[in-house]
Amino acid sequence: MPFRSRVCYGVTLSGGVAVTVRAWRSSGGTVRQAVLTPGETTARRPSVGGRAESARSGGVTVGCLAVQESLTLWLNSPLTSRAKAEKVLPSLLDIQLPFPVEDCMYRFVEFRRTSEGTVSALVCAARCEAIQACLERYQAQGTDPMLLDHEGLALWTQSLVELTAEPSQHRVLIYLADDHTTLVIGCGERYGNAHSLQMPASPTADNDLVNRIQRILHADLPSGVGVQWLFCGGRAGETAVVEMLHRSLTSVWPGALTLMKEPTSFLARALCTRALKRGPLRCNLRLQAFTHKAVLRAADWRTRAAAVGILIAGILLVGFSLTSHLLGERRLNHVKSQIAVVAGELAPGVAIPYGREISEVQKAWEKQAPQTTPFLEAFTPSLAVRLAEVIKAGQTSAVRFETLNLKRNSLILSGVTEDWDQCGQLEQRLKALGYAVKLQRQEAIAENEVRFTVNAEGGGP
């Protein structure tokens, strides 16, 4: 569906009487429902001639095609690829149908993989005449459903919503309408098939209904298996009918009976839930020529919106690209101008070729620097302080200097000491001042004193 409405009207026709349920979805996704009285229905539900725009604002009307006017069928393709299977499934459906596939509307509502790995698909189909007749019935009741669901699929999914399925447990839902009975058979959460029977005037008095139901069930269910029996529909309130059917059927397929809450509006609720929420087995048989005008308009609006969106995206892309490029160029020019300003300031009067700013500025700076370096050097730590530190190191180590030569990054010493180890102390102290020290000691020969020389480098501030 090309739009998701928040309000939905589910309309079912049973014996010429319409049952309408109004449902609305909250922002949290919760669906609330209320059965409308005939008066409320006329006032609130979009009518046949009503504005189609109400699909978005006023709500969606959903009807359903009865099981007797349509069919559901599991088709098994021999292919393992779903994409390939989807291509051959219409041909397989054509073989199965008693009428040409071109005369019907169909929709594959579920794909499953069989135990052999091949693709199996559930198709829902209805003849065009049946769809037309169904729509005319709805129009006679003053409504034109925008979506046409399938009765059997709707009953099955709603039964799963209202009563959780047990895995591998067979389930049969019997929908007792005023004019017909619908059987929906499945196992676990898997939909099996749906059948429809005419409802006799007095079901309790006539065993024909039970026999027909049993015949149908024998085809789908092995005798003796446990079955979960669910009853709903307008006549599910007739306890005698329900008990009679349950008693007769449990003799072959034992199982507990569950009567659904508010059974009369069960199908209408199912239609609303399916229209408002995403889920499995969703189906709309108003396809191609039968598509509602509001849906067509919504699809058209969506196509236009998509085109406009793409157009805007394209314009934005072009805009962003141009802006990004211009900003990049601007930033590059800004950096270039900054370089030109700084280079001009550092090398005044020098013509600097583009790209050679660093080399030219360095060249200019190498010429300028010697003229100002002595001013900066005047603020460096004094060599006199270092001289005092060296002399103090000598005094502390009890050595006597004979010569001392001190420059910014070198120190040459010679002297004498009474002890070999005192030179070592001097060496450590000079190292502490940051010098890399080379100490040479000479053994005392004629005198008692040890002579030493120190060559030290570094240490300068």
Binding site: A307, A313, G314, V318, G328, R331, T372, A378, L383
Partner: protein
């Protein structure tokens, strides 16, 4: 007619979108080159900034010197007499060269013979405290065999000055006058 309008809209939208995609691709490619250029230029700018920072430090130091009330350096001979008793240093000019803003760098050799070496730090301190200051560049000390504490000192001092020129002769003359 309506279908045509939708078709035109879709075609235009697709065309504009494709142009947008192409423009984006071209811009991304151009911007890759551009960002590499900007990165290189930023590196250049950073290197220039380092040079400028160094130059600014030099200029700031020069400004301090420019701010001195007296740009003429004090006489080393007078400093020697004032700081060391019984010692008159021999002073020789080693080097002189012009600096920025009319300043001149002078390097002098100060030789003290048979001086009490403990007086050298005092001399150096006074020289460094003078404005413009004298700086010790190199120092050679040799102890004398005559007496403990005596020795020969050769000090290479330098300063930046602006007016006058201190020669060995006139400094000696000034030292003699002072005596």
């Amino acid at each position: 007619m309506k279908g045509n309008a939708l078709l035109i809209l879709q075609t235009c939208a697709l065309a504009v979108f494709m142009v947008g995609i192409l423009a984006s691709i071209v811009t991304i490619r151009q911007n890759l080159g551009l960002s590499a250029k900007i990165r290189n230029k930023n590196e250049t700018l950073a290197q220039l900034a380092v040079i400028k920072q160094t130059r600014d430090r030099h200029q700031a130091a020069l400004r301090v010197f420019e701010g001195l009330s007296n740009a003429s350096p004090v006489s080393l001979a007078s400093l020697g007499r004032a700081s060391a008793t019984n010692a008159t240093p021999e002073i020789r000019e080693r080097e002189s060269r012009n600096l920025a803003a009319g300043w001149t760098l002078r390097q002098m050799e100060v030789v003290f013979s048979e001086i009490d070496l403990n007086q050298i730090p005092c001399f150096l301190h006074m020289a460094e405290e003078a404005r413009p200051p004298w700086r010790l560049v190199e120092c050679t000390l040799a102890s004398s065999r005559k007496a403990d504490g005596l020795g020969h000192a050769v000090l290479i001092m330098e300063t930046a000055g602006k007016t006058g020129r201190q020669t060995p002769d006139n400094s000696q003359r000034r030292a003699e006058k002072a005596q």
